[in-house]
């Protein structure tokens, strides 16, 4: 089954120039593959995702509240220890653990979130079966126009991509 067409560009700048043109031509189901993060590429593709910082903030808030509540509950209610008449709710002494648990919640949570949002782990992706893919992890910048795009038409799309200066290869499942 045809997954789409992969257009190989030589430099990140060529890819960045090409993406708006492809979008202007009406293609919507696009994805780019690059060896390293290319600044501005998600803006060009329109797939910018602002959720990560907010998710991290929520996880951190939950971790902080949970960590503090655990200590306060244990020291005041579950297992109160009177040591030298010191207050049970000695909140300054709870700050180090609250802090560590905040960071721990964010880190573990964000790692899982990142995998979930990116759809990883993934056992198979059609793009990795193309001949040019190996270089997409080194020095090629790939734009894939997916076949499910309503504007997609094999020979016409191929000609259009080649006009943009790319080498084009079919991506098959």
């Amino acid at each position: 089954m045809l997954h789409g067409l992969a257009a190989y560009f030589e430099t990140p700048e060529d890819l960045l120039d090409a993406v708006p043109k492809v979008r202007a031509a009406g293609y919507r189901y696009l994805e780019a593959y690059t060896p390293f993060p290319v600044e501005g590429l998600v803006d060009a593709l329109g797939t910018r995702d602002e959720r990560i910082p907010w998710i991290a903030f929520t996880l951190g808030a939950l971790g902080a509240i949970g960590g503090f509540a655990l200590q306060a509950w244990v020291q005041v209610a579950a297992y109160p220890l009177n040591i030298g008449g010191k207050p049970l709710l000695a909140w300054p002494a709870y700050i180090p653990i609250t802090f560590e648990l905040t960071i721990l919640s964010i880190t573990l949570g964000l790692f899982v979130t990142l995998l979930a949002l990116n759809g990883l782990p993934l056992s198979y992706h059609p793009v990795t079966r193309t001949r040019g893919y190996r270089r997409a992890l080194v020095d090629r910048f790939v734009l894939v126009v997916e076949a499910r795009d309503p504007r997609f038409e094999l020979s016409e799309t191929r000609r259009f991509l080649e006009e943009l200066g790319a080498a084009v290869e079919e991506v098959r499942d």
Binding site: L45, I103, L110, L120, H125, L137, D139
Partner: protein
Amino acid sequence: MEPKPASGDSALIQGEHTYETLSEKLAAVVEKPPPGAWWPVFLIGGLGAALLLYAILVTFIQGLGTWGINIPVGWGFDIVHFVWWIGIGHAGTLISAILVLMRQDWRDSLNRLTEVMTLFAVLCAALYPLIHMGRAQNMYWIFPYPNSLGIWPQFKSPLTWDVLAIMTYLTISTLFLYLGLIPDLALLRERAQSRFTRILYGVLSLGWTGSATHWHRYRAAYVLLAGLATPVVISVHSVVSLDFAYGVIPGWHITVFPPFFASGAIYSGFAMALTLIIPLRKWYRLEDVVTNRHLDWMAKVMLASGLGVAYIYLLEIFIAWYSGEPFEIRQQLWRFSGPYAPYYWAMMLINVGVLQLMWFPRFRHNLWVLFIVSILANVGMWLERFVIVIISLSRDYLPSSAHLYHPTWVDWSLYLGTLGFFLFGIALFIRFFPPIAVAEMLHLLHKLRFHRHDKQGGSPPHRDGQDPHTPR
């Protein structure tokens, strides 16, 4: 289009490198047979790890009586080495985290190796409290979990903070290392020659494709985690120092301990990083990516943090005098002239004296001098932990309880064993995973080409004129 080499004005990557040659060079570390020097490191490390295992077995079977600890020196070598190893671990997180936030491009060549160093150093460190318990099978008692006895940890104790801090640190430095590895694992997967390595790296890379959207989320998470790892580093060693400062032992009970320990950690961590990187870059011919400029900067960081340590040595003497507290003064005099005075003066000689060589570029640029100073710095920091833990404990308030500490062969074996385990772990890691982050270096090459473009007055090849260097 001709690939543009990044060299000349940019000293971070030397030689005429393209993306292709750079990734080839960095992947070759894993794919080619190791250089001859790898085998002795691997074997010595393996023997050390075996020694460690044996010493642990002796400890568990015969008990803590095989150690040299006594009353009052109840915290012997194990806490000396716990603090020492944790300190060494810190440079890794600092290089990978703080320098990300400060947008220091020179970290890209160093962060992978120093993160690996962190991982194994923290593992070595975490081992000591574990075996110091004597009954390691009950270590879960220190975690807060509902149990049938209805008892809970004492959250107001720095020792409990320590447990949480170390576990958090170990978890996040492992995740951070793994996160950074994922793109490189995908590259190794695609380059794999045998079916076995393809499956191995394929599974470990989680099916990473390098999609632009994935990269975007990945960078957002990576930078966030870097930002969070930074305060954790500081907090971990501050908490470790509070284990001491909360006690009332003369020589421990001062408020300057958290910054004292944190700067000592940076100092010893950078020293250990230099000790590892200087031979590594020579054996694997990585001089192009770990340049003399990198080593120079690391030496400068070592100097700066070492000066912080030296300042606090002098401050401790001043505080003892200025406080007028007789036990503090006695402790300082005991350090100057007691039976452990050679340790104290050796520490002063290295951490205050030898360190000053790093002011001079001719010493910083001489690899042999730098290598020897970096090893001496670790010895100096070991002496510092010895001075803090053992000299202070050996003489507290009661003259009747003064007692010297003599480590036994088990103590020494545990120490040499962790050194072996550390080398063994790093040697194995380098054999299977690239010690320099390939994707980061390709990105750096890309950024360096950008800079050159800007300087030549050409318009930056970027849309809508925004600053291309702003990370997202």
